[in-house]
Symmetry: C2
Subunit: 257 residues, 2 copies
């Protein structure tokens, strides 16, 4: 699927071009086009700032005009903070990326055009865009620097392709223990608490047991975690002491059973 | 509604603290907490890098420990690139912000904890988080710098509060012209094309007129734009020439009628 092309018009600092390349490549974008970079191209300051995103810099294309840089693109997005006097379809980053994905699915290519660091795109350059992207920001403090604006668009593009579940368990999570294992823990706990007078008064016993069951059911403990917890319970109840008597003042570590 | 608190653990460079403040304030976050900043606090390098986000730096709070920095928070999100050997609920930025909003609606406060520039949080510090935030990135190039990671979270937070329509018309758009005005344009065009032999052959006349109607209906032209287009048509048809005869070689501008 066609990725959007990132076009920087008259970028001033090589460092910023490098930081843009890094932001792009962090989120999988690799087509960078430069229109009249102030200090020429290649620029030795770009590489260090790219922090390893050399693949983007190596493939960057140089153009004399914005027209030439977007000539093979089917839709051109101009980025601007403030809207000049013109009637233009205006999108959020999210709205723009949805459109780009639809266009890409039809085989079309989008360009996102960013202006120079201090001044942004001229009114004429904004007018060359089919659509304006305006990043909603704090109304009191809306000025993003160049690499920050690029990272927002690149993140948004990646976010809409990404299939990572919003919430998941990672690490060595083997899934929740079986019901039998979990019931073993809960019954063990009840058996330890009962003779120690925890369930009092009698008429509240059932609701106290229900509360405890909920506490231990909700987290989805693994079998290993249940074994660790049973060790903790036995230790608290005075039924487990792994330290040899001679080491009772030492710093022996109590690990999960 | 409670905003998430941004906690920087052992940040190294004042410039990065400033850039974090800027990224936060761009998207409306203003609660910054610093745990053991390497060069102390305040840091004279932070202000210039904040580019005007002084309100965030001025209100930044200093803590000796991560525990103290998150003591009043109801849920702590640790950020990390790679997952160490631990079972931890892990979220995307989008998933995390959804949870934060639910918590905030109940009056709870979230903290998002970022580690030092080069090393990130220690395994112990990650373990202190209730939830891990992992930003999905290019698997070949996943390392975000500190301010970039903060801007992604701050953008995502703002995005989920923001009510800006994804696609809209801005500028001086007064809405589409009335149907009568638009029909005036289309009839005018047909009347100009008919005597000039455009509608040929006869049996295609109706479909050609339908095509033209669709072209002019879809954009939702304003009344002013319709007037401009009628002037353009009249000029093309030789019925409008605003230049005085004496100025026919000059550069007089033809504006919308």
């Amino acid at each position: 699927m066609n990725q959007p092309v990132i076009v920087l018009v008259r970028p001033q600092l090589g460092e910023n071009i490098g930081m843009v390349a890094r932001a792009m490549w962090n989120f999988g974008l690799c087509h960078l086009r430069l229109v009249e970079p102030r200090d020429g191209w290649p620029n030795p300051a770009a590489g260090p700032a790219a922090s390893g995103a050399d693949v983007v810099l190596d493939k960057a294309e140089l153009f004399d005009t914005l027209e030439a840089a977007v000539a093979d693109c089917n839709r051109v997005y101009a980025t601007a903070m403030t809207l000049r006097r013109m009637i233009k379809e205006t999108t959020t980053p999210g709205g723009a990326v949805e459109q780009m994905n639809q266009l890409a699915a039809q085989g079309g290519r989008s360009a996102i055009v960013f202006g120079p660091e201090r001044t942004g795109l001229t009114t004429e350059e904004v007018a060359m865009g089919d659509v304006l992207i305006s990043i909603p920001t704090n109304p009191e403090f809306g000025s993003l620097n160049l690499a920050q604006a690029v990272i927002v668009l690149a993140y948004e593009w990646h976010r809409q392709q990404d299939t990572t579940p919003p919430v998941r368990l990672e690490g060595d999570y083997e899934g929740p223990a079986t019901r039998e294992t979990l019931d073993g823990l809960i019954n063990h706990l009840n058996d330890l608490l009962e003779p120690r007078g925890y369930f009092h008064p009698d008429h509240r016993t059932e609701s106290m047991k229900r509360t405890l069951r909920n506490i231990f059911e909700r987290p989805g403990f693994t079998g290993q975690e249940v074994r660790t917890l049973r060790g903790v319970m036995r230790c608290l109840a005075g039924e487990l002491n792994r330290k040899p008597a001679s080491d009772i003042q030492g710093s022996g570590e109590i690990s999960g059973e």
